[in-house]
């Protein structure tokens, strides 16, 4: 084996020559490739991040929307429950010339003769109820509910029927005096309802 030192290394350059030449598939990434990959990864990550938070935000918006819908429905049902007991509407009174009258306030007499008012304030967005106390002759907040002994007691818990409302309108028509129409609005969503009075 008579091979010179130089010839030996020329025959096996992969072992001892430095820097070692690498095949194409064993080569590393260039700086430009790493930069391009980083930018793509960043854009993708940003998109996923935004999508995630927009979905969370969208769920929050939907939750609020659903709560408002339910709140609107609850107010509508409360008005319905109160007015179904009404016997006569004292305000608004439909004029014979216009035919239909609308108001933010409703005054009516219930089945036991109590006068009740439902008034909506645009400033506070609240629908409030007051009842005429027949003993004192004054309007008290809330309703007068009978206790176990049958005596009417003020129930202030029922004084505010709804909050965060944008509009509440009560309408009566001279053509059908027995029917009361109401419209409740929260944000841009409306609900309507009606009730026939039991005064016939």
């Amino acid at each position: 084996m008579n091979i010179s030192f130089r010839a030996f290394f020329r025959r096996r350059p992969d072992i001892h020559s430095y820097p070692l030449p690498l095949s194409r598939d064993r080569m590393g990434f260039t700086f430009v490739e790493i930069m391009v990959a980083s930018v793509i990864a960043f854009v993708l990550f940003q998109a996923v991040y935004q999508l995630f938070f927009s979905t969370l935000n969208s769920n929050k918006v939907h939750d609020e929307y659903t709560s408002k819908l339910m709140a609107c429905r609850v107010v509508l049902m409360q008005v319905q429950r109160l007015t179904v007991d009404a016997r006569a509407i004292l305000h608004p009174i439909p004029s014979m010339t216009v035919g239909t009258t609308s108001s933010n306030t409703l005054v009516f007499r219930d089945s036991i003769g109590l006068v009740k008012t439902l008034s909506f304030s645009k400033e506070t967005g609240e629908l409030k109820m007051h009842t005429l106390d027949l003993q004192t002759g004054t309007m008290v907040p809330g309703s007068l509910d009978p206790d176990l002994g049958g005596t009417l007691q003020p129930n202030p818990r029922r004084s505010i029927l709804g909050k965060g409302l944008k509009e509440v309108v009560f309408t009566v028509d001279s053509m059908s005096m027995d029917t009361l129409q109401y419209r409740i609005m929260i944000d841009d969503f409306h609900l309507v309802g009606g009730v026939r009075l039991l005064n016939g």
Binding site: L44, R183, L191, V195
Partner: protein, 150 residues
Amino acid sequence: MAASILLVVVGAVVALSITSSRNIRRSADVLFAISLAQLTMEKVLGNPYDQISDDSTIYPIYKTVAGAPPGPVFENFEVPQTGSSLAIEKLNFQSLHTQVSDLQYRYQVRVTDLIPPNAHASKQILVTIYWMNEGNTYEYKLSGFLSKKT
């Protein structure tokens, strides 16, 4: 491979969000249809017994942009600040008009006379509310009875 997994995940999240949003809107539409049906029924029942008659026409609830009037139940809807009673039209009831016209809410009142033997004459009233959503027509029915006072 990684890109397709990412795409599927993103697609699923977007689809879920859109579906949830659509379902909430649909429930709001139904809620409004229920309230409209209830109001229509009360208004119809508020008329004198003999004036409640069958009508197969499907009327709009609002005044259309072309100016077509709403059905008789909604002719005089409210009296806004202008002082005269008005139907639901774009000028005076902007958001309400948008709400009812976007989904084209309409109503129909069918009346059937019931004259059972040995009983008072009575009528069955069927109020149907129709609306359109993404090319589909939906309806909500509410039925009621009215007996003639003797």
